[in-house]
């Protein structure tokens, strides 16, 4: 099948606004009579709030509203209070907020709020948190045998004892990952205003999921959804960090108090601590396999740091630990653990990058022990159609080995050379790793208006984070056989658009893209029904495409799409195609595989990623340029995760490196040569066989780099990030050993 619009490299339709700075982000918006918000934050990681005195602040010039935790009796869906009540559980947690005539006045008032704390013992690490006698961060624990358990999940398959008994080789190792920020460049920002006439609250916010914001806010503020309108703004990066409510309830409450619009831009320091970054993990693995490399048994105990509240994705980590491989016997126990760290949230691919760093490093260790090529052990055990995956699911297609093989082929794996670079203290090495991820369509919908000139307007409630609106335009153009320029895509808000689960889990193109396709088909059906007289044919004998409506039987003269649309609109008043879906079968389980070539300085421990070959099963690339951008961006985030990004906490539990100078994300000088290989089988249940692409590219990166470092210098670094210090230390241990 040849396509005219999908499968093409179409520049983002909103790119002209973004390159000229015309895009109005939240911080750019000024509302009439607006005041500014500021939040008072705890300087302690664990403390009882004895007293909050707001009287001085309330009397300061320009102050129009002051609120505290008492004003939020309800927490969000994960139990995160909007402002702390009774006690603070992490350094940076909000305890009060103010609104004032200027940012300066708001900050001054925030500083004038006096909070008296009684300090409590700080629980800084997941290992300490679960020990008997550890201070309790919440009264309850999900596991009676251990304190501070926020949640537990197990995955069992086969018979683990029998699996180990049948294994020729058993290996144990522990891996650790770090806290990181998602790294979006636009800090969180929200505005709220209240309509005094009907009491409705409108919130403009940088969010990935406006409808989820609405349901969360309705719960938190105890209002019916009909009293809330959430307008999702252009988002300056999110990567999971803008899934949950952040300061939206605070601006809403402040706006209700003072009756004026309130704007709050979170400063970068607060954005590092108080907006749901990604938590750390400790992962203890034991794996058994046969002499020929066949994987048999995997046992693990995973501790995901949930920080102060219940946001760690421990179940997701457990279900993904197997990687894209067949394991007959699994026994994985995974805990989310409370600590006095920030409240953990989502990050691109949730806990898949954690889990795959452990399991893919382990796979290489096993291959080395048995003298098997790292590529061979992966190909041999790759998932096939029907294999159990992600807890209770079945792998829909046999594609994993193809993806892994494609990465290796493109990289030139069989002809690789590694080892010291002559005349330098540097060594080069190659590493391979794979990963998998799951995308569910969830609540997805679209409406499509056919205009009377034959152009088309698409409306969805999905947030256009990654250029999905452009892909929707391509999909609509393909279905109608019109140029992309004849399609408008509009991101509506919670009042104007049909409901949508939001832009996370790589689900927008997969689910909403399919809804757009179906809505276009629905509109075409309606068009055909209106043209039966004109074309002298039954609706099912009318074909619409290529800019025309024509009867497949009979000799009636075809109508141009403009003529057809004009008649249909006249006849019916409007042609509005609709589609809504809650699921697509099968869900997409994309596999990604990457080969990293690195250069390690044996003296300084500095690692440079020279090249990163990224193969990914994308189903079908509706817009290959956009898909490449997603994969390169993911892998770049993976490079930072592997080598440099890390929250460093002091012994008091407070974050020490809350700036971009000290939280080191990759710069233009660090980017490797990317080589993206798209695997397109066009079998998936998304539009034209597409599947989600936004996250899998981050899943294998850290492990591929770890494996390449091992190949280069023979040391296995089991802790992220693999900083020069850690590498030098590992090299030192080896030379002493």
């Amino acid at each position: 099948m040849t396509f005219t619009a999908v499968g093409k490299r179409v520049p983002r339709l909103d790119a002209p606004d973004r390159v000229t700075g015309r895009t109005q982000f939240g911080a750019d918006i000024k509302l009439p009579n607006m005041v500014y918000g500021a939040v008072v934050r705890s300087p302690h990681a664990h403390a009882r709030i004895v007293r909050i005195r707001t009287d001085k602040a309330e009397k300061m010039p320009g102050v129009v509203a002051v609120i505290t935790g008492k004003d939020f009796p309800r927490a969000d869906g994960e139990g995160v209070p909007m402002l702390a009540r009774e006690k603070v559980r992490y350094c940076g947690e909000g305890v009060a907020a103010v609104a004032a005539e200027s940012i300066r006045a708001a900050r001054a008032a925030a500083e004038a709020i006096e909070v008296e704390y009684k300090l409590l013992p700080v629980v800084a690490h997941v290992r300490d948190a679960t020990k008997q006698g550890a201070a309790r961060i919440h009264a309850e624990s999900e596991d009676e045998s251990m304190p501070n358990i926020a949640g537990a999940a197990t995955i069992k398959r086969g018979d683990i004892a029998a699996g180990f008994a049948a294994s020729d080789c058993v290996l144990e190792a522990t891996f650790e990952t770090q806290w990181v920020h998602q790294g979006f460049m636009e800090p969180h920002v929200s505005l709220a205003s209240i309509d005094p006439g009907n009491g409705r609250i409108t919130i403009w916010t940088s969010t990935q999921a406006q409808f989820n914001q609405r349901s969360d806010l309705a719960n938190i503020l105890a209002l019916p959804m009909s009293r809330l309108r959430i307008i999702g703004l252009p988002v300056g990066g999110a990567f999971g960090g803008k899934n949950s409510v952040c300061v939206e309830p605070i601006v809403a409450e402040l706006a209700c108090r003072c009756g004026r619009p309130v704007k709050l831009v979170v400063n970068r320091k607060d954005d590092f601590t108080a907006t749901r970054p990604c938590g750390a993990a400790v992962m203890e693995l034991k794996a058994g396999l046969q002499r020929d490399g066949t994987l048999i048994a995997l046992q693990a105990r995973l501790l995901f740091d949930s920080g102060a509240y219940r946001g760690a994705q421990h179940g997701n980590g457990a279900s993904l630990l197997q990687g894209p491989y067949r394991w007959p016997h699994l026994d994985i126990t995974s805990y989310a653990v409370f600590t006095n760290k920030p409240s953990a949230g989502a990050r691109r691919a949730l806990t898949a990058p954690h889990a795959h760093f452990a399991s893919e490093s382990m796979l290489d260790m096993m291959a080395a022990k048995l003298g098997i090529d790292p590529l061979e052990i992966r190909l041999k055990n790759a998932l096939r159609a029907g294999d159990p995956v992600m807890g209770g699911m079945k792998m829909p297609f046999t594609v994993a080995a193809k993806v892994i093989g494609a990465a290796a082929d493109r990289a030139g794996w069989s002809a690789r050379s590694s080892g010291p670079v002559k005349g330098t203290a540097k060594s080069r090495g190659w590493g391979i790793a794979a990963g998998h991820w799951g995308t569910w369509a969830g609540g997805s919908s679209a409406t499509v208006n056919v205009n009377e000139d034959g152009t088309v307007s698409v409306l969805t409630g999905a947030i256009n984070l990654t250029g999905t609106d452009t892909s929707f335009a391509q999909i609509a153009a393909e279905v109608f056989g019109i140029p992309v320029s004849h399609v408008t895509v509009y991101q509506g808000d919670t009042d104007t658009a049909p409901r949508n689960d939001g832009s996370w889990d790589s689900r927008v193109l997969f689910g909403t893209g399919e809804a757009v396709r179906r809505a276009c088909e629905d509109a075409k059906r309606q068009l055909a029904e209106c043209l039966t007289e004109e074309l002298g044919a039954a609706p099912e004998q009318i074909e619409i495409g290529g800019g025309f409506a024509r009867a497949t039987k009979g000799g009636a003269k075809p109508l141009t799409l403009a003529e057809a649309a004009s008649r249909a609109v006249e006849y019916r008043g409007a042609i509005v195609g609709r589609a809504a879906l809650s699921d697509l079968d099968p869900p997409a389980i994309p596999v990604a595989a990457q080969v990293a070539e690195v250069e390690v300085d044996r003296e300084t421990g500095q690692v440079r990623v020279l090249r990163l070959v990224c193969a990914q099963d994308v189903g079908f690339a509706i817009n290959p340029m956009s898909v490449e951008g997603q994969i390169e961006g993911s892998a770049s985030q993976g490079v930072g995760y592997a080598l440099s990004e890390e929250y460093i906490f002091g012994p008091d539990g407070c974050l020490l490196n809350d700036t971009f100078r000290d939280f080191r994300m990759p710069t233009a000088r660090d980017h490797p040569e990317f080589d993206v290989v798209l695997i397109e089988e066009r079998k998936d249940s998304g539009p034209f066989g597409a599947k989600g692409v936004g996250e899998p590219g981050l899943v294998p990166t850290a492990a591929a780099i770890a494996n390449a470092i091992y190949d280069a210098v023979g040391v296995r670094v089991r802790q992220l990030p693999m900083t020069p210090e850690r590498i030098v230390r590992a090299l030192g241990h080896r030379s002493k050993g």
Partner: protein
């Protein structure tokens, strides 16, 4: 509030008189007083590059530049590099090569690139990497940005290899 002196700013070829403390941030003058919001604020500490503007053609972080220090100098923001409604060819190149995703870093990124190309129309790959090192982008992984800039630079090199006919 103490009355502020009236300062004169040259921004994108126009003169603006703004009553502002010389110790204000140039970023606030541009965004709040003049109302040009294409310049973004990402970190407020001069570490992300989103607020990059050109001061007499050199890139500076406007969040770290005193308003008073910009007086008497030509300030160029993203709004000033193309005719109204039009695009600078470098902007077009960013669009064509998919170098823009969320677009928050993009204005600063383009200005850093423009400053480089204005003083060095024939940059090496390493020149480009260095010029962009102060502008963080989290979406793209930089490759497409790099491609957009180097392709534009090659195409607009003053002495191209095209044979000129007289």
């Amino acid at each position: 509030m103490p009355a502020h002196p009236m300062l004169e700013f040259q921004v994108n070829g126009r003169t603006y008189e703004v009553a502002v403390s010389p110790a204000s941030r140039l970023l606030d003058v541009i965004r709040n007083h003049i109302g040009l919001t294409g310049t973004k604020e990402g970190c407020s500490t001069g570490q992300c590059g989103a607020c990059t503007v050109l001061l007499d053609g050199r890139p500076v972080s406007s969040c770290m530049t005193f308003a008073g220090d910009a007086v008497g100098h030509e300030v160029t923001t993203i709004e000033g590099i193309a005719p109204p409604g039009g695009l600078h060819p470098l902007q077009q190149s960013f669009i064509d090569y998919g170098a823009v995703q969320c677009g928050f870093c993009t204005p600063g990124m383009i200005l850093s690139a423009k400053a480089l190309l204005d003083r060095n129309p024939d940059p090496t790959d390493d020149d480009i990497r260095r010029a962009l090192a102060g502008n963080l982008c989290r979406c793209t992984g930089y490759r497409k940005i790099f491609e957009a800039i180097s392709t534009y630079a090659r195409a607009s090199r003053p002495r191209s290899k095209k044979v000129k006919t007289r």
